[in-house]
Symmetry: C3
Subunit: 363 residues, 3 copies
């Protein structure tokens, strides 16, 4: 395999990186094909089910009991951080965390590259969130080029790097949990293929809706509706991609305009922290016609579902949160994320087969 | 059961809330009756004893090995935080913590209500400390109204909420550990009933002495002595309560004036952080006549005991800390708190019976 | 044993303290004799080897499964913190951490002495890093004078205190891991005795090179070369010590001047945080002649090794980091540190015998 220097690796395209990443790390939503998506969903379901019994939970907690995870989160996050943490404990992993650069050796002038290689000395997996997307790519390169190798199954492998969100673009495990939630929601309704998904809000900067759009190429017949103010509409690069893969999409100017056609509504928050407004107390208000209220539940198909990657702000009426309506799945979506992360981590350490064997014993 | 909206729930009185809380959560010292107090003390004792053997410690560590606790502490605290953490590890719980709102999604404009519901997606119990007492009440309401339910024993229950201190008033597990410490101290002297307890210091704002006063209604014959500067004397509401329950009390103007009559001396710190002085380096000095020194140990009954909820400052002479006098129980009081929290958490998950069965096997 | 007050204990010399510390705590590199060094290295090796199998890792994780460690790190550190954390998880310890005084009761005016005694109520070992070296000594004194005792083996012992770095001088576990790394590097070359070790960089303030120099008295025939700018040369107190123990040393003015004679090169970073420069972005640049580059690898003996306590900055060329040269051992040095800390902690709790018995069974 050709060796790249770190600057060379950061300079090549994502497509050139993908074959190098293989199954050793999770960096991009683009790295999953349909069979992997189906496999991860199946493993996530198996984990969820077997964890309900002591025997199943004991099995899960034994699988990675001698593996140590580091959750290295430089950007603010409690949701993704807790979700990964919970997933790791379910698999019995030992956990450590770093959430503040001020308490690290970087205050003594150490480079991020050295810090990551140091962390790698102590742990068997790094989950990393960083505002600079190159930081997570660099972590992969460091692990690949470090001499430290883990014995996994019959072979050796590098310390896996899992992106917990990198820059404005990449959040691959969020994309996986969105797919998993859609699949579970449509489980009794023929699956994701052929469904119409309306995405609402800040489509321009929301990495979840961008990723989800890309991933829909794996599900034949899906149609997309983009409901957003002009300034936050879906970017041209995504639209070009959809055209290329013959995925139909339309743009509408309110939830009302699209909801009757939608099987799933995927709400998003206006990402004003990227406007440099995060530090101020003021947030950009969501225009009324892009806010989801109780009346929209009346308009939504009975087989439909309402998703949101969370955190949310004013784009969903509080009454919807506690409506008790089974189509409101965004809280379960969070727990789905935990199970999906259990599945991903198990697969990285080749422990997925044992989970499936326990969940679906062969007679 | 009647449904309340969150604002309605926050608006009803504590007495109206109590029947809703039941045995699902720990919010108020007032929720415990005498039989519960005795039960918790018995379970705490059992935990303390069986943990001394590997078999007992292994049993304890197996009881909640598949349950996850979140310690969500917004207010400064290391004592209560570590005490709960230690209790959870003793029961084998998986632990996560959040101690800083800056690293959470609240920096993206998420409401506290949404954050708590999110945390609830990942964990099976939330221990919460917050400067706003409504925050902990809200957490209870959210859990009650969320769809997430845990299988415990033969039934389903909400994710338990445990107050680790809420606002200026509530700190129910501290009240429990104070009772437990008094009970242990008077174990060879007939128990708490009939004893005289002198409370010293900032009685007006000290939530521990207020709670403890209320709880004394469960112990017949107890007398209270309040030793405090006028401006920090016990509030009228507590005195009215004591009159109503025919609990005798008297006010004195120095430790010397009350110590000869006291079986227990309960010292407290002047809570100047509520004066808005906490950020400054200067603290309010405790008047000399309310400081406990070595000479007071000479005046204290041989069967007496000296408590303090800690942290302390200048109200106890350092020489008392390392006097080696067995009546100085405030350090043991801290460890008692840990065992009491083990008991509480075990009971919330119906694991207390297994503990008692191990500690007191029936022949 | 004579009792000292805390001020008295802090006032006596290190030599007077050493017999009091015994085998209960780790405060100074000076407390280890040669047989202890050899023993710790042997245990560390045993841990490293048996952890490769599930049976060995399970044994290790069972040894201290009912012991709780507190990592109380007031100074910035991620390396030492993670290393101790990883070591504790390997031994199955329950872990808690405090890294920020602002979230502790000290913000309510509690003394450090009280805080430490409080922490001791909940845990069975404290690893402590503090900028004030007296803080760690005080922790030892508190544990010694507290009534809390642990049952270990057949007897009782105080809660062990382990220094994770105290002030500008003491970092005993770093000294141990340096010795362990040298010993492993020279394993096939006759051990440390008789070797020539060149120390490079900030020898004046680098506590690692100072400690390592002192420890070389345990290895006959060792020679030292000090390569440093005049202002950072090794202090007179160390030189006096070396003269007293007849350890030959010489001072050189560049890496080039000493590298041909060196078996080991021990690089260090200019400790400009002690110059009060840490908060600024600017760091003191290392003079070119004290920077290690790829060309120095060509000059280094084939049986040689290159160490660095890390973090590093500009004193080693980045190309050396990823050269793949087996003599570059500073990354492995970090992992060695973790194994050494496993050994130390195991020994503090008398669990080292079980480790050696598993690693080297008697037939």
């Amino acid at each position: 395999m050709k060796r790249y220097s770190l600057p060379q690796f950061l300079a090549i395209t994502k497509e050139q990186q993908l074959p190098l990443i293989g199954k050793n790390s999770i960096l991009y939503a683009e790295q999953f094909d349909r069979s992997q998506l189906d496999h991860y969903c199946k493993v996530a379901d198996a984990c969820r089910i077997i964890h309900k019994t002591d025997a199943g939970a004991d099995l899960l907690a034994s699988l990675l009991r001698h593996r140590t995870a580091l959750n290295f989160f430089v950007q603010p996050s409690s949701r993704t951080f807790l979700s990964f943490s919970a997933a790791q404990t379910i698999l019995g992993m030992r956990r450590m965390s770093l959430r503040d650069l001020k308490i690290s050796s970087m205050s003594k002038g150490e480079s991020l590259v050295d810090s990551i290689r140091t962390f790698m000395s102590y742990v068997d997996m790094i989950v990393m969130r960083h505002e600079d997307e190159n930081a997570v790519k660099a972590a992969f390169w460091i692990s690949w080029n470090s001499e430290r190798r883990l014995l996994v199954g019959d072979g050796e492998q590098m310390v896996p790097i899992v992106s917990g969100g990198a820059g404005t673009e990449e959040h691959p495990t969020q994309a996986l949990l969105d797919v998993y939630t859609l699949q579970k929601s449509f489980d009794q309704h023929g699956g994701i293929a052929g469904k119409t998904i309306m995405m609402v809000g800040d489509l321009k900067r929301g990495r979840t809706v961008r990723s989800l759009s890309y991933m829909m190429r794996h599900y034949p017949g899906v149609r997309l509706i983009f409901a957003a103010p002009d300034r936050y509409q879906m970017s041209a690069d995504v639209c070009t991609f959809l055209d290329l893969h013959s995925i139909p999409y339309s743009c509408v100017d309110s939830i009302d305009d699209g909801i009757k056609d939608a099987d799933a509504v995927y709400m998003t928050r206006i990402q004003d922290e990227w406007d440099g407004l995060a530090a101020s107390d003021g947030h950009v208000a969501t225009p009324e016609r892009f806010r989801f209220g109780l009346r929209h539940l009346d308009m939504l198909k009975q087989s439909g579902c309402l998703l949101h990657p969370l955190p949310k702000r004013d784009e969903i009426d509080e009454a919807v949160d506690y409506s008790g309506d089974g189509r409101v799945v965004y809280w379960r979506q969070e727990r789905n994320g935990m199970w999906m992360r259990v599945a991903i981590i198990a697969a990285l350490f080749k422990a997925d087969a044992a989970i499936l064997a326990h969940a679906y014993p062969i007679h």
